[in-house]
Structures are given as structure tokens and as C-alpha cells.
Assembly symmetry: C2
Homo-oligomer: 421 residues x 2
């Protein structure tokens, strides 16, 4: 196993006694607090851990000593907070400098913190890696663990990321509803889904389909080059066949040079789309409806007389509180708990918790520990076997993703018996 490298390089025999601190980092998910609560419930009774602290807004709170005592939270509060979306401790987007980490270690020394846990994505894993290296360089004995979380599902090593299953469930349900809406009042409908570099979440738009006539009919992922001419042809083909067309588009679609489609479109359109660009001429991809509107405009320009609408699902994908995947909730809880076990177990000085799918039988995952360096920095695109043609996904993707959502119930049509003549 990858984790064994660390084990062998640094044998640990004694039990490390001290306080633990945890922070949350990066974009929210609806199950990030399940991991927090799983962590607290495992850390509080652990003998090696003398106190359990939470840092407000991640490394910022650790630098400033802005900590709360998680050991004093009641069970009922913890169980309620577990179901609340987004970081209960507050989040942060910040890669700490060496000076920042020195400040953090000052806080750790002052509070005798020997266990560092950080919930987040690949940037968060990198921060944990930096803290691990810098504390070791200072000779401050400390265990550093990353707890995975991201709706983007783009972490390496792990089978999938806690947070993804719930976001995928929301997106699949959203497309099921929108497909019914579009059958009801036909037209072209374009929905923009989060995911700049990898198409995992956009691909989940297909999980509620029963057959070819169900939307989305077209699925554009950043793993493929987006060709506007091909897109128009695709829309024409589906619209000609079904009289309607639902399109799923990742916010990260780009041309052959990797330039975002929205940037290409804004440059081509000149001043008409100036509102989309910031003062540096870069386009803003999330928290705006610009990409959806640009694609809708493109269809309107090129295909006459079609009703075209665009929606951008936006932050709801990562924060809608009422449709979490029960599997995702349970796994997010479990990775928090597993991080405590790994840290106090003594086999690993540092690491990232990953999920490993058990082969055969019903869907089930186990946790494992992987070195921080294997998860930090780089991300994971969808593999070729999950893609299909220039747009769309394969059955292998559906088989992979469906269990993570807790299951998506297919929609039912009326039987539609003809009226007897």
C-alpha cells in the first residue's frame, strides 16, 4: 500500500499525547459537517487526545488562535450540525506561506496541539502536507491528516470524494425535474453544472435517465474539447428528432487550447459581452449566469424560431440542505472517524483518508490511508472508460456513480392508453 512508505520511513512506538485541532477549507458541501462530527465523536473519547479544538475559518483561525472547544458540544448539537450544509467552523481559501505555518505552529505549541486535521480538497491536502513538513523540520512532533471533501470528485487515490454523492444526487434530480418541465413545455434548455476541470458532477446529470428520450440529451464535459459548431449540429439533431433538447454543460468547457468557451465567446462578441469580463479581461465562471446565457445566445443566433432557456445551477449544488445522499452522509461521517483512528493508531505520521470500493457484491467502501503527497496539488479527471464519444458518458460511469447518490428513482409516465374509437 502507498501508506506503508510513511510507516517504514518513520517507525513510531510511543503514544503521542496532546490536543487535536480541526479545520475546514475550500468550497462547501452538504456533508462536510458529517466529517467534522465523525471526527469529534471519535476524538473526544480517544485517550491520546487531551482536548478537541475547532479552528474558525481553517488555517486563519489556527494562525490567530481563534479556536473553540469541540469537546464541550452536546451530542444533540453535533447530530443537528452534521445535517447542516457548509463548514460549521467557517471555511477559507488560503495556501499558507512558511511564515503563516510558523504562526500556526506557535498556536500548536501554546495549546500543546499534536494532532492536526484538515477537511477539504486537493489544496487542503497540500496545506496539510506543508504543515507536516514544516512541523517536522522544526522538530515539533505532530501528526497531520487530511479528510477528503469536494463536490468536484477530483481527488486522486480515493474511489470518490465525500460531498460528491450528494451533489450528484441534487444534479440528477434537478435534471429529472427539468426534463419533465421540458416535456411539458418543449424547447431547448441548457443547464450549466459546476466543475471547472473535471466533468464528474456534470456527468451525474444522466443518472435519472431511463432511455434515450430522457434528458439530458447532450452532455459536454471538460475532458473533451468543446466545439461550438459541433454543439449547434448536436442540438439541431436532437431537436429535429424529439422536438426538444436538454443540454448539460460543465462550466469548464474549453477549446482545443484549453481556453474557456466563455472567454472565446466574449472575445468573439466584443463589447456586447463585456459585462462578463473582469478588469483583467478574464471571465468569471461561477456565481454568474454568463456561460448559460452565452450558449443560449449562440443557439438563438444559429437556429431560428426555437425557444431557448438557460439555467445555471450555481451554489445550490454544493449547499442545498434537503436532498443529501444517505450513503454520502454515512461515508463523510466515516472518513472523519477514520482520520482519528489513523492518527492515534501510530502507523502513520501523516496521510489522507481515502475510500476504497470493495469488489463484488453490494456497493461498499472501506477507508484507507494514503500519503499526503499522493493527493496534494493534482486532481483527477474522468477516465476515458467513463466517457462516450465527443459528448456523453458510458454505462461504466453510471455503474460507478449511482450507488454514491443513494439511488435515483426513475420518473414514471402515464401509460397513455388510446381512446377507443
Amino acid at each position: 500500500m502507498l501508506g506503508e512508505w510513511l510507516l517504514k520511513s518513520r517507525p513510531m512506538s510511543e503514544i503521542l499525547q496532546g490536543a487535536a485541532v480541526i479545520g475546514q477549507s475550500g468550497g462547501p458541501t452538504v456533508v462536510i459537517n458529517q466529517s467534522l462530527v465523525g471526527f469529534v465523536q471519535a476524538a473526544v473519547p480517544a485517550e491520546a487526545i487531551t482536548a478537541v479544538y475547532g479552528a474558525r475559518h481553517g488555517v486563519k483561525g489556527m494562525m490567530a488562535g481563534d479556536l473553540i472547544d469541540l469537546g464541550k458540544e452536546s451530542d444533540s448539537t453535533l447530530e443537528a450540525v452534521a445535517k447542516v450544509p457548509a463548514a460549521a467552523l467557517g471555511s477559507v481559501r488560503m495556501k499558507p506561506t512558511a511564515e503563516d505555518v510558523a504562526k500556526m505552529i506557535d498556536t500548536f505549541r501554546a495549546k500543546d496541539i499534536r494532532y492536526f486535521f484538515y477537511i477539504g480538497g486537493n489544496d487542503t491536502a497540500e496545506t496539510a502536507h506543508i504543515v507536516a513538513e514544516q512541523s517536522a523540520a522544526q522538530g515539533y512532533d505532530m501528526r497531520c491528516f487530511h479528510i477528503p471533501k469536494t463536490i468536484d470528485n477530483d481527488l486522486r487515490v480515493t474511489d470518490h470524494c465525500p460531498g460528491y454523492g450528494s451533489a450528484a444526487r441534487f444534479v440528477a434530480h434537478a435534471f429529472q425535474g427539468d426534463d419533465r418541465d421540458n416535456r411539458s413545455l418543449p424547447g431547448v434548455k441548457i443547464n450549466v453544472v459546476m466543475g471547472r476541470h473535471a466533468g464528474w458532477l456534470t456527468a451525474a446529470s444522466t443518472l435519472g435517465r431511463r432511455h434515450d428520450e430522457d434528458g439530458p440529451h447532450l452532455v459536454y464535459l471538460p475532458e473533451r474539447v468543446f466545439d461550438p459548431e459541433q454543439f449547434i449540429q448536436d442540438v439541431q439533431e436532437v431537436y429535429g428528432r424529439l422536438g426538444r433538447c436538454i443540454v448539460a454543460v460543465s462550466e469548464g468547457i474549453h477549446d482545443a487550447d484549453g481556453k474557456p468557451f466563455l472567454q472565446v465567446y466574449a472575445e468573439r462578441s466584443g463589447s456586447a459581452m463585456a459585462g462578463m469580463q473582469d478588469s483583467h479581461g478574464n471571465v468569471q465562471l461561477s456565481g454568474t449566469g454568463a456561460l448559460g446565457d452565452a450558449l443560449a445566445n449562440l443557439v438563438k443566433e444559429r437556429i431560428e424560431g426555437i425557444r431557448v432557456r438557460a439555467d445555471t445551477f450555481g451554489y445550490l449544488q454544493r449547499s442545498f440542505p434537503a436532498d443529501a445522499s444517505p450513503i454520502d452522509q454515512a461515508e463523510a461521517r466515516e472518513v472523519g472517524r477514520a482520520a482519528v483512528e489513523a492518527a492515534i493508531g501510530g502507523e502513520h505520521q501523516s496521510g489522507s483518508i481515502a475510500l476504497k470500493r470493495v469488489e463484488g457484491g453490494e456497493y461498499r467502501c472501506e477507508t484507507m490511508v494514503t500519503p499526503l503527497s499522493t493527493v496534494a496539488k493534482h486532481t483527477k479527471d474522468m477516465p476515458e472508460e467513463f466517457l462516450s464519444g465527443h459528448q456523453g458518458v458510458s454505462q461504466a460511469f453510471l455503474d460507478y456513480a449511482m450507488p454514491l447518490t443513494g439511488g435515483i428513482t426513475p420518473m414514471t409516465d402515464l401509460e397513455g392508453h388510446p381512446v377507443g374509437s
Copy 2:
């Protein structure tokens, strides 16, 4: 009662025997098929009703004779379809001309259809009214009933509209999640909610708040004039106080002359926003992120150094399948059933089913019949007692709307015990 006018003007003693037809019209809701199924389950066993037909895409199907036999649908299919969003029969946006209605009556005569039911909003009620008048003028004995449905909640007479409770639940949950997201990573967040003329759905954004620090902090409704200067001042005040700000905006916000804000903004900005306008220079309000983006740009132009994002909830508000209000589902089923009872009861030749809140005790509504003319054409804005100042809603609104959603569970914060020194 209003309904008695019809009763007195047209005494009916004989049982009218014949087939029934039902159609669905206007924008989808997630409970519109509950009404369809409530109707079918009541109509099939009714002795007066000889056959139960469904028209594809409303009046279009009735004109073309495009009907299905709903009496042959299995119970299990009906129960599954009841939970599916958007019109299972297909919808239509069309006010039939006298010629169109003549074609419909041809179909009715051919199939001996004596009962006409139409599920939809105020335009749908108007169509039912036109059909009632024209069939009477032709001497074709027919009963015509409107079954209410709209997420906009803007029908007259009825306490509220089936479809609204579920859309309100979705919007309340969406804002709860977005508020947590925004606490987690602070900034200004603007969310655009459906409702061109009335603020009912935007007002529902407040149903998950516990106190003043919970978002949305600002709620702009079309019942008030939208003043961009006041808006900027409001955002500055909230941001200064809390370091973040969540804004709920109805898509129908407008200036003192009733001109949509987006139109005002597009005209002021000139070509930079040209992409928002159609070939007639009118702005498109739904199925686009333009309004949210315009408001975000306004804040960025006027307040420096603030992170501003905008989302437009879009069609998810009327079609998201996984968060329906159980109260709304039950009431939508009930109005479908009540329409059949009213039609075969013989007291009313035509009418619209309305909900009447029973005063005192736990929330409960009864159905009643009101003349089509009282519901057709005109809509209902939020009353003054539900508004508060130049933005926001009153406690009276919250008391009115909360039961319709089935209840919104408040979010829970960590207790946040200080770390002992």
C-alpha cells in the same frame, strides 16, 4: 357565497351523463400531477361520468382530438405519476380564440364529453370561462371547472395556490443552504427568485431564518418600487454590520413607472448589456442569469473590494422533484377530487376550486367553489400587511406561509464554547 350566484342563475335538477376531459396548462409545478391523479381517482368511479379522458398539451389536444383514456391507467402508475413534477399530459400556453373553442366543442360532441376540467393559473381559469360561455351559447350542456395551480400563488379568492407550498419550501431550503455557504465563505450573494408581478415566492426565502443574522438579509419584492441607490445603501449597511450579505430579489423588480429594473439597467449600460435584450429591445426575465448578473455588476461598480456572486434559481423552483411539501401534495390531490365532486354535485354549472383556511387551531384548509369570473384574468399581489418597509416581509406573512411548506427545520450552529485559558 360567491358560488351561489351561479347556483341561483341556473338551477340544475337532472344528472348530466357524459365523458369528462382534463387538461393541464401554463408553467409546471411539482404537484400538478397530484391534482390530475386526485381528479382521475374521483372521476373514474363517478356514475355520471361515462369515460375519463386526458388531453395532450391542454386545449391543443382538445382541438386536435389528441386524447388518452385515463380510466385505463393502473393505480400504481397513477400513484407514481402523482409524484412526478410538471404536466404528465403535457402543458400549453395558449388562449384559445372563438374558432379554437369551436374546434374543441366539436371534439366534445364527438366523444360526448360533458365535463371539462382545466388545471392551471388565472389564464387557465379564463380559458375555462371562455369554454363555459361558448358551450352555453351553442346550447351544448357542459360543466366547466378550473383546478388551481401555480407556484406564483397569485390567484384570487383562494387562500393559496397548490404548487406554491412546494416551491416556497424549495426556495426556503435553498436560502438556508446558501446562507450557510455564505457564512462559510463570506461575501455578497444575490439570488433571483421567480415571480414577475407578485412577490409571494421571493418572500418565502425568509421562512428558514431564525434571527436577523440569518440570510436573506434583504428581500426585494415587486410590490415595492426598486431603487438601485437604496439597494446599494442597504447592501453597504448589512455588509458593514455582518461582513456578508444575502439578497433575495424577485425577477419582477421595477422602477416607479413599472419598468423592469433589468430594462432600466440595460438601457443605461448601452451596448455592454446588449446580450440581454431580444430583437424588440425587451429584456428576457426568466431562463437567463442576466438580472442577477446586472445586480452583481451594480454592486461591484459601486462598492469596491467585495466578493459578489449571483445565482438565478430558475426552473428548479417549479420542477425540483425531491423536496415537495407534503401539505401541498395533499391539497393538490384534494382540489382535483373536489372539482369532480363540484361538477357532478349539480350545484354549479362551472367554477374554480379554491382553498379556504379554517380559522383557529392547527392549520387546515377546506375546498370551496368560486365563479370562474372571480379567478380569471386578474392576479393577486401580496397584501400590505405581509410587507415590511421598502424591503422584507412581516411576521403575518411567515405565519401565513409556513404551514404550506410542511415546515422548515431551522439550521443549527455549533455552540462554540471558548477554549479554556
